[in-house]
């Protein structure tokens, strides 16, 4: 028999509605699974009492026939979302013990719809990283291993805890955030599905800010349908975030079964980067073939400014981060380290509270915004962003409905394998995902196969603004053709 925590979110929802099991039983199955999986370090904080209390409310609602859309479904929450009365750290020492007196808009929407909170998930510090190795609270270990090896593998990042927890069946789905690839890259590394919706689809209110013009929340789950269900609850207008759009939330789940007949899928030639492993190229070709077989038209397209997206991102994102992270000054919340005067207190607090990658990015951001460099770096990068966006607008205007690319330039690597002195080596992980954030578009990563080492590989689909529905339909066609990813058995339990 399938354990309750191994059901998909949709199966669990339907099972609860049919009263095959209770929300309490479903929560307990997850609590037992995550207690046995502490070696993965996916959860920074487990909230079993809260989970059981929420599940009891759900069981009462279901008994009365008043079940809400996510009634009784246990989720993990990336520790970047502020949760009322539950410690929120952003993976940083500087926020150790911070207990918000408010609830983020996204998690509020999930609880409004009946979901159950299992705990807070590990992440790269302030979501800055691609391997979950920058967390102040330790690495997350992927449930995946290479064939014949027990070397610990990274789950990707920054939403590494979210991706690992979903892949290891420690929740039915998880919240995540994506500034340059932080939903899609870990999803690809762990054989899970992750969607970064269009910028403005989900409210950023109450989510710890990294780079405000790029940050966007989205779900990671085990199937395309599960992601569609979760996004339907996470998204929606919010007056408290002026960049959150006043658009009704479509029925994403209905879009999942639309099919791809008549759609035009673009294959951008600029994504064929030097040194791309042959198996990634093969997988990409295979993905195009699957979509053609399902009735889509495949068209080669050009996005000429693609190669400038990553360097421009490493100006825009640190610039915005240096401004956003100025608030951690030892005065209003979090850590304080004394100094000889107030400036000394600020400097000592931030030196002790921030990790190396965060300091590096704050300093780059400070430099590119400083007098004399602002036009040469920041304004130029924002102009290049306009060019990147125009590339996409041109292909969409020419009739392309969605764009198919690899999700990552390689499969997951081992912990410590990319710890070289050159930070750019790690940044290159996001080469295929970052363009999407720069242009504010929706992007989904969907598992498509395994590499020769037995690690998962994913494909990415990029859509028109506010057309996540086409992404769900197209990603479902890939999931159907590739077959549901068979996740690792629990070697950690």
């Amino acid at each position: 028999m399938t354990e309750l925590n191994e059901l998909t979110l949709a199966e669990a929802r339907d099972g609860l509605r049919a009263k095959d099991f209770s929300a309490r039983e479903l929560a307990q199955a997850h609590i037992a699974a995550l207690e046995k999986a502490r070696a993965l370090n996916a959860y920074l904080l487990e909230t079993p009492d809260r989970a059981l209390a929420m599940a009891e409310v759900s069981d009462a609602k279901i008994a009365k026939g008043e079940g809400r859309p996510l009634e009784g479904l246990p989720l993990g929450i990336k520790d970047l979302f502020c949760t009322h009365g539950v410690v929120t750290t952003a993976g940083s020492k500087i926020l150790e013990g911070f207990e918000p007196h408010y609830e983020s808009a996204v998690t509020h929407n999930l609880w409004r719809d009946g979901a159950v909170m299992l705990g807070k998930l590990n992440l790269d510090e302030f979501a800055m990283g691609s391997s979950n190795e920058t967390s102040a609270y330790g690495n997350v270990i992927s449930p995946w291993r290479r064939n014949g090896s027990d070397a610990p593998i990274v789950p990707g990042g920054s939403s590494g805890g979210s991706a690992a927890a979903v892949a290891a069946h420690l929740c039915l789905g998880a919240t995540a955030t994506d500034t340059g690839g932080s939903i899609r890259q870990p999803a690809a590394f762990t054989g899970t599905v992750g969607i970064k919706p269009t910028y403005g689809r989900c409210s950023r209110w109450g989510t710890v800010a990294f780079a405000s013009s790029l940050d966007q929340a989205g779900p990671i789950a085990r199937t395309v349908r599960d992601c569609a269900i979760l996004l339907g609850s996470m998204a929606g207008p919010d007056a408290r975030d002026t960049t959150c759009v006043d658009l009704p939330v479509p029925d994403f789940e209905a879009a999942v079964s639309r099919g791809v007949k008549g759609l035009t899928i673009g294959i951008p030639k600029e994504y064929r980067v030097d040194g791309m492993p042959a198996e990634i190229q093969r997988l990409w070709d295979q993905g195009a073939e699957w979509l053609r077989a399902a009735g889509a038209e495949i068209r080669e397209i050009s996005l000429p400014n693609t190669r400038y997206a990553l360097p421009a991102y490493y100006i825009v994102a640190p610039a915005e981060a240096s401004s956003n992270l100025a608030r951690y000054d030892g005065v209003r919340y979090g850590l304080r380290v004394p100094g000889k005067d107030i400036v000394g207190m600020y400097e000592n607090t931030r030196a002790a509270g921030f990790g190396r990658e965060v300091k590096r990015r704050i300093m780059i951001g400070t430099y590119v915004l400083s007098a004399g460099y602002y036009d040469a770096y920041y304004v130029r990068a924002q102009k290049i962003r306009t060019l990147i966006k125009r590339d996409f607008e041109a292909v969409y205007a020419a009739g392309v409905d969605a764009i198919l690319t690899p999700a990552t330039p390689s499969s997951a690597f081992a912990i410590g394998e990319k710890a070289s002195a050159d930070p750019v080596e790690m940044y290159l992980n996001d080469v295929f995902t970052v363009t999407v954030n720069m242009a504010g578009l929706p992007g989904i990563a969907v598992p498509a196969g395994l590499d020769a080492q037995g690690l998962p590989l994913g494909l990415q689909l990029i859509g028109r603004p506010f057309d996540e529905e086409t992404l769900f339909a197209t990603a479902q066609a890939i999931e159907d053709a590739a077959g549901r990813m068979s996740l690792p058995r629990a070697w950690w339990a």
């Binding site: 013990g97 911070f98 207990e99 007196h101 269009t198 910028y199 403005g200 790029l214 007056a239 002026t242 960049t243 759009v245 006043d246 400014n305 190669r307 400038y308 360097p311 490493y314 100006i315 240096s322 100025a326 000054d329 005065v331 209003r332 919340y333 979090g334 850590l335 304080r336 004394p338 100094g339 005067d341 107030i342 400036v343 000394g344 207190m345 400097e347 931030r350 030196a351 590096r360 300093m363 780059i364 400070t366 430099y367 400083s370 460099y373 770096y377 304004v379 130029r380 990068a381 924002q382 102009k383 290049i384 306009t386 060019l387 002195a421 930070p423 750019v424 242009a439 504010g440 506010f466």
Partner: protein, 95 residues
């Protein structure tokens, strides 16, 4: 463009991050690696291109200028390292 050790110290001070002397050289190397990576942007022709100011084409929402929240002084200071009577306490700044 690359930064020298003196510039690293200046940036660190602007960013209000204490940096030990031993950390200056490694940071200098890391920052220069990033600056070398972004150098290629200099080759892009950006003449007559407007910088992006809005990710999605939408007018910024505005709300009525009315009080919508307040009376939460205790919650506002609840996470502060040091407070007194709903004030944040900082080291003395005026002699």
């Amino acid at each position: 463009m690359s930064v020298d050790a003196q510039t690293v110290r200046r940036i660190a001070h602007l960013a209000r991050i204490a940096v030990s002397e031993a950390d200056v050289a490694p940071l200098q190397g890391e920052l220069n690696a990033i600056l070398a990576f972004v150098e290629q942007l200099g080759a892009v022709d950006v003449a007559n291109v407007e910088p992006m100011t809005s990710v999605t084409p939408m007018a910024m929402k505005k709300r009525a200028d009315v009080i919508t929240d307040g009376d939460r002084a205790q919650e506002v200071v609840a996470n502060a390292p040091e407070t007194e009577d709903h004030y944040f306490i900082v080291p003395k700044v005026v002699e």
